[in-house]
């Protein structure tokens, strides 16, 4: 890939982020703010001696333990962010190509030296790689503010704060797990990403209804023509158990990324993404 293509792709990614700041930066920032405010409010309600006891308990709990072993504890805090990311991803994917046609900005972008393939790939790349980075950065900022607050509370209550440092290291280590969980989820659910993009490029109105309606119809047709329920089985096997794509330990990182189900998801997702790329040529 030559330098010009890299610059082009970077520009497309930047465009996606700038156009959807609310989804990639605003939404997680609001969630982080809500969590911080709620935590601060709870801390204000607790008696000072109890607060000091709680702090010393947390400090002892994390003191001297490996941050990589304790990192999964912080995955719980990431759940609201992951849910926000999923919801924002669906909103983004179903609207992104549809909005281009609705605003007629597609004509401008097609006059630029970028292909439909680059444009659609930039959208996939934004969801799979870029959006989780913003989420992780905001979670990091939240942890940092939380640690500063804990430190201030600890100093004012004469609590030994060595364990708080270890806790911060565990929180930092958990960011890696959170990022890779988001990445593996995106790869695992790449067919869903492709499906939403395909109907975002296809529908003249209400793309979400088209995506949902055709999905149900296709399931019926498969049952009617082939007499099988592989589509329903497959969707059920993918969506039913989040433990399949959430990573709670570093040992299983490579195994989660490189396994048959993930790779097959990429293959099936690629078919739908290819359809979305060709579909983008119909601008009306």
């Amino acid at each position: 890939m030559d330098r010009f293509a890299i610059v082009q792709f970077y520009a497309l990614l930047r465009r996606e982020v700038l156009e959807h700041r609310n989804l990639f930066i605003g939404a997680p920032a609001v969630v982080a703010l809500l969590i911080l405010v709620a935590t601060f409010w709870v801390a204000m309600q607790i008696d000072e001696t109890q607060l000091a006891e709680g702090l010393s308990y947390i400090s002892v709990l994390f003191d001297g333990l490996s941050p990589f072993d304790m990192a999964p504890f912080f995955m719980l805090l990431a759940i609201p962010f992951m849910l926000t990311l999923y919801i924002c991803s669906v909103i983004y994917l179903i609207n992104t190509l549809f909005q281009d046609r609705k605003e007629m900005s597609i004509l401008f972008w097609q006059s630029m030296p970028v292909s439909n393939l680059q444009t659609v790939l930039s959208k996939v790349f934004t969801i799979v790689i870029v959006a989780p980075i913003f989420y992780v950065l905001i979670i990091f900022a939240m942890y940092l503010i939380g640690m500063i607050l804990l430190t201030i509370l600890g100093v004012s209550n004469d609590v030994d704060l060595v364990g708080i440092g270890w806790m911060f290291l565990a929180a930092i280590a958990s960011l890696v797990l959170i990022y890779f969980s988001a990445l593996v989820t995106s790869l695992w659910l790449l067919p869903s990403i492709g499906w939403l993009l395909l109907f975002s490029a296809f529908a003249k109105k209400t793309p979400l209804l088209w995506a949902g309606g055709v999905f149900i119809l296709v399931g019926f047709f498969e049952d009617f023509i082939f007499g099988t329920q592989y589509l329903a089985n497959w969707v059920q096997s993918r969506a039913a158990n989040p433990n399949q794509y959430l990573i709670f330990e570093f040992q299983s990182l490579v195994e989660r990324i490189f396994n048959y189900e993930t790779l097959f998801g990429i293959v099936v997702g690629s078919i739908l993404i290819t359809g979305a790329v060709y579909m983008r040529r119909f601008t009306d």
């Binding site: 089985n233 497959w234 290819t274 060709y278 579909m279």
Partner: protein
């Protein structure tokens, strides 16, 4: 071929969906992905869509076992209805 596929958005959608379903069905058939089964785990009864006949038979046998108890209840109900009819007749 390419002209037919790219004739309009509908032909392209149909071709994409056919390819998608084709790959899924082929993979499902090769790997022997199990057919979806509704299994309700509960302490009261076992239900499996694949074995619906078995579920019906087991339910019938349960019903026949509790027939005597139900009859008593039904008779009581019938008697009550009769008495109600008589009451309404009087009025």
């Amino acid at each position: 071929m390419k002209n037919i596929i790219l004739k309009n958005r509908y032909t392209l959608l149909v071709v994409t969906l056919v390819a998608y379903i084709g790959v899924l069905v082929a993979e499902g058939a090769i790997t022997g992905r199990e057919v979806r089964v509704f299994e309700f785990e509960n302490p009261f009864f076992d239900f499996n869509v694949n074995n619906f006949e078995g579920f019906r038979e087991s339910r019938d046998s349960d019903d026949s076992r509790s027939d005597s108890g139900q009859d008593r209840g039904e008779n009581r109900g019938e008697n009550r209805d009769d008495s109600r009819d008589e009451d309404s007749g009087d009025v």
